[in-house]
Symmetry: C2
Subunit: 615 residues, 2 copies
């Protein structure tokens, strides 16, 4: 395979080995003025032209080894951005290096970035910037070979106003006052481990930090540092557990940064600095599996990387598998089984949302002409996990299969991998069980939409109480409602409460009487745990409890984690009476939302992206 | 530690990431005209000057990113060569790359290289060139940061006369006719795994090759290809065994090249292309442990590298340990024990040669003002192995200790390591046995000359027959000699015969009558196995059997493996009557000898290096 469907770059003609970044943040204009020096290695002889990915970048100049180079921006693509074609003023041969320097400026609407006003922050005094590059947004921040097939080290100097602190997905390498402007500081960062462009990340804001372990700090605005330090106190234990499972942690530091509420994902595995949504701050560490997930990415994803986004399941399926192995080690096997069951439900949810025939529900989808943001779902995570768990069952259990996973990580460390390479190694590692592997319906698992061909048998011990209770509600007639009491949920963990609600969401909506009774006896409105609240409000809206609509819209807009915000908006939009209100609310908030979130909700709501008219 | 005592370079001011080599071999003048582009990363801000190691190089020009750079060759050191100080025409900052290009020419007396006349080859028709860079000779072939603390990838184009074939320590990357001279060919090589400069290697000659495994070929002049293919047929088995022990083999190809007889070492672990002495071609695979040793270096040495030559035991001790683990797997534990006993004897030999108080017999010697070639001995190999074996005994046996070795390799892969870092990890890995580790006399093992403080208990099962027989000879009076018969040695393997002779060499010389009897009954003169012949001839010379002197001198000069040649010369020189003959023979051969071998023998024989007068 010589091309990445999500990038304009070739990874067979040249490869970037190092980026040297100089970024100057202009909060007034909401642009980054940047200069990047890419150390590029030619893979072909008579190499004299290369293409970099850009998106909405203004290119000021390009040079090669200090000599001016001609460049041309090609046509702008609907989602891949704009190719930057560069002609070198000389030829180089295969194996030779050239230093390409590009000076440029980002657009205020750069898709990788969200610029926040002080009002949008916790402290209300300073602006804030954060990036989210996965999958194909780095090119809106830095011109580069924006493909996960290419790994490079990086060094960065970030120039910001002196009241602000900058952090990146790298080791912190000191800071100094800007020699040209003593109202600004230059923060320096060094990433000596080769990594793909989507893992470049930056946050600038009124940040503080606190140490939580021998190689870990939490970062956030000061309002949340202590809460985050408490919530993520298990980090070192998780890191050690992961190292025992997967091998050495090569990245040095493992910090966590809690972003403002509009951060689109639960977490992002930026090396040295996991990004986390503040919706994890439940107060009781109950949502720490997201941290276990991001920690696991330090191996599966960051050390061994999917070669293109069509192989994204390699990143996410293995990471969910490792995440749940950490749960097994830190809690119990029963808890892992419980989480696996929950994951199967999330998979069903995604398949229902996309449609069981939608090829985007393939484990290995084609992404020709597909915007990776549109393709994003639980499928690579949970169909990926289900496949690995199924193989675990076939190969002889968790210890046996972890032997393979650990070995796979070691073999492919520092490189980018395809499904075929993974599968070939599976067959090599388990050469004594090839007959068993050959009975797996690989075509169905990999290349067929919908639910997997096999459903693993999960241990329902921890789920039984949830199943029993949800069934009781589902079967209850109005006269049965008085049998429900607060004590029904007293012994349920927050995980089990979440699962109880997930089970109910799979069924037809409950009658309104039931939902009102549930609130009366369980007071779920008081539960601030975001996973619980998210499911509870969906349940209420589906049951047409009108008082829940403003609560759902409030949750949808007060935070921007797409896992919550998109379904909440969709849920309200399906309540015909409130459809317009939801759309208007979205339009009112849109400008202040994260660009990717805003774009996807616009599609969900069938709102035209530029003029707000319905499509 | 910020400096390497054997190099003029700093490894804290900048590091080389990649070398792009263009080498033009001129066999008439015996020089290489070279151009090297070094991609250098600054580690300091305002970086504007760097020093490269050179030795006897003529520097033609230097540029930085295509701009001319001023340079100056400093004073020539007795063994470290000449520092090449370069001023950049601009500053760069920490994390920034610059491409330094140096055009240069090697000296005909480059210490890394031996240029052979056709007469010195097997085929007699074509000249031949080979390199041996370890420890500090790469700088006589390429200007570079010639320190094992620095690892870089490389790409090379090698331009040679069209009748010749070039190979390097890299993946072969094709060839083409020289567009400027169709009597020449350009061979291309790609080494994508970062490695230190001492592992750069080149051979040019009338080479042929034959496949011996899925990732292995043997190379040599055609006269030896089939013999080599037979001798090294176990290569793939050894590679698989090593992979099971140590982790994935990351180098791609594993080829073996059999050099002409003057190659100074038993083997050299050049990545992708082990160099081997033709004295391994015993005809019965009995000397294949050298290949197991070089294969093991693919992990310990090439993947995890000593940070400076003071920590050479990390390379060699671990490699001998792995080599003997391969023997355990492929033969038996008894055979490993047998080899370990033999190694202890080699250690005693080195300690005797250097002197028990000589600090060069420290496991971790100081190499300030010490030529690494002078320091070279069995000490890092066998004192290193003895330490690791001792720790294996303390920690709970070979499986337990291999767990540490495998983990150490994985942790430090792609980096350079000091003894302290190794020791810290030992204590981390065996944290539950720290009390046992604390009882080890680390100061005696590491920093005290002479034999180790503890002698491990080895299983003598396979050695018993050798011990019994040698004792019989040692205790025999003249009237007992008739009791010796050919059948004494009939059941001994060549390994055991070698050990039998080693045991005799440890004792006082046998009377001449005994040695003559030994020849009569055992016909050891007929044994062509080089390890046997080497010991046998030393025994004979020591016992003053005058007819053996020309045989010893013949072996010393027909091949140039220093393990054999140096002791054979020393042995004859100690036979006062033949001293002058030995010295004259050396002087006569010197010009055609390998430069490092010639230099060391001159020191052994106390012959002045330039005018042949005795010192
Ligand atoms: Zn993930
Ligand atoms: Zn060695």
């Amino acid at each position: 395979m010589s091309s990445d469907p999500c990038s304009f770059c070739s990874f067979t003609r040249c490869v970037t080995k190092h980026l040297n970044l100089n970024l100057h943040l202009d909060f007034d204009r909401r642009v980054i003025r940047g200069k990047v020096a890419l150390t590029v290695e030619a893979l072909e002889d008579r190499f004299s032209a290369l293409t970099l990915d850009t998106r909405d970048l203004k290119i000021v100049s390009v040079s090669a080894n200090g000599q001016p180079a001609c460049f041309n921006l090609g046509p702008k693509h609907s989602f891949k951005g704009t190719p930057l074609d560069i002609s070198l003023p000389f030829d180089i041969s295969r194996g030779q290096h050239v230093i390409m320097e590009v000076t440029y400026e980002t657009s205020p609407s750069a898709s990788a970035l969200q610029w926040l006003t002080p009002e949008q922050t916790a402290g209300k005094k300073h602006p804030y910037l954060f990036s989210q590059c996965q999958a194909h947004h780095c090119r809106s921040m830095v011109p580069c070979q924006d493909s996960p097939s290419i790994k490079h080290t990086y060094y960065a100097q970030v120039n910001v106003p002196k009241d602000l602190v900058a952090v990146m997905s790298a080791m912190r390498d000191g800071q100094e006052v800007d020699p040209q402007d003593n109202n600004r500081i230059i923060y320096k960062f060094r990433q000596p481990v080769p990594m793909p462009s989507y893992l470049i990340a930056i946050v600038v804001g009124a940040l503080e930090s606190r140490e939580i372990g021998p190689r870990s700090r939490v970062w956030s605005e000061k309002e949340f540092v202590d809460k985050a330090a408490f919530e993520f106190s298990e980090t070192e234990t998780m890191l050690k557990t992961a190292e025992d499972l997967a091998g050495p942690y090569v990245w040095g530091q493992y910090d966590i940064l809690v972003l403002p509420p509009s951060f689109p994902y639960g977490g992002m595995e930026n090396p040295c600095l996991t990004f986390a949504t503040p919706t994890l701050l439940a107060g009781d560490k109950s949502l720490s599996n997201v941290i276990a997930h991001e920690i696991s990415h330090s191996w599966t994803g960051n050390l061994v990387t999917n070669k293109t986004w069509e192989h994204f399941w390699l990143n996410e399926g293995h990471t969910v598998y490792l995440e749940r192995m950490i749960s097994r080690c830190m809690e119990s096997e029963q808890f892992r089984q419980f989480k696996a069951m929950g994951g199967w439900k999330d998979l069903q949810d995604s398949v229902n949302t996309f449609g069981a025939n939608n090829p985007l529900t393939n484990l290995v989808p084609s992404l020709q002409d597909v915007d990776p943001d549109d393709a994003f779902s639980s499928v690579p995570y949970e169909k990926g996990f289900a496949l690995l768990y199924h193989l675990e069952e076939l190969m002889g259990g968790p210890e046996v299969f972890m032997g393979f996973v650990k070995s796979y990580i070691q073999l492919f460390a520092y490189s980018s991998v395809t499904t075929e390479e993974w599968k070939n190694y599976l067959f090599t590692y388990f050469k004594d069980k090839v007959d068993v592997l050959n009975k797996v319906d690989w075509n169905a698992w990999m290349f067929t939409p919908g639910m997997p061909p096999v459903k693993p048998q999960y241990d329902s011990t921890l789920a039984d109480a949830c199943i029993t209770l949800s069934q009781k509600w589902i079967k209850a007639k109005e006269q049965d409602l008085s049998s429900f009491k607060e004590s029904d949920v007293k012994m349920l963990s927050s995980h089990q409460l979440t699962e109880f609600l997930s089970l109910l969401l799979q069924e037809n909506p409950l009658p309104l009487t039931h939902v009102k009774k549930m609130q009366e006896v369980y007071d779920l409105n008081a539960r601030t745990n975001s996973e619980i609240r998210f499911r509870w409000l969906r349940l209420c809206v589906r049951s047409r409890w009108e008082e829940s609509v403003p609560l759902a819209l409030k949750m949808a807009t007060e935070q921007g984690r797409m896992k919550f915000t998109r379904p909440l908006f969709r849920e309200v939009v399906n309540f015909e009476k409130y459809r317009d209100q939801a759309v208007q609310l979205f339009l009112a908030h849109r400008a202040g939302m994260h660009p990717v979130t805003a774009g996807l909700i616009a599609k969900d709501l069938k709102v035209n992206t530029s003029d707000g008219t319905s499509q």
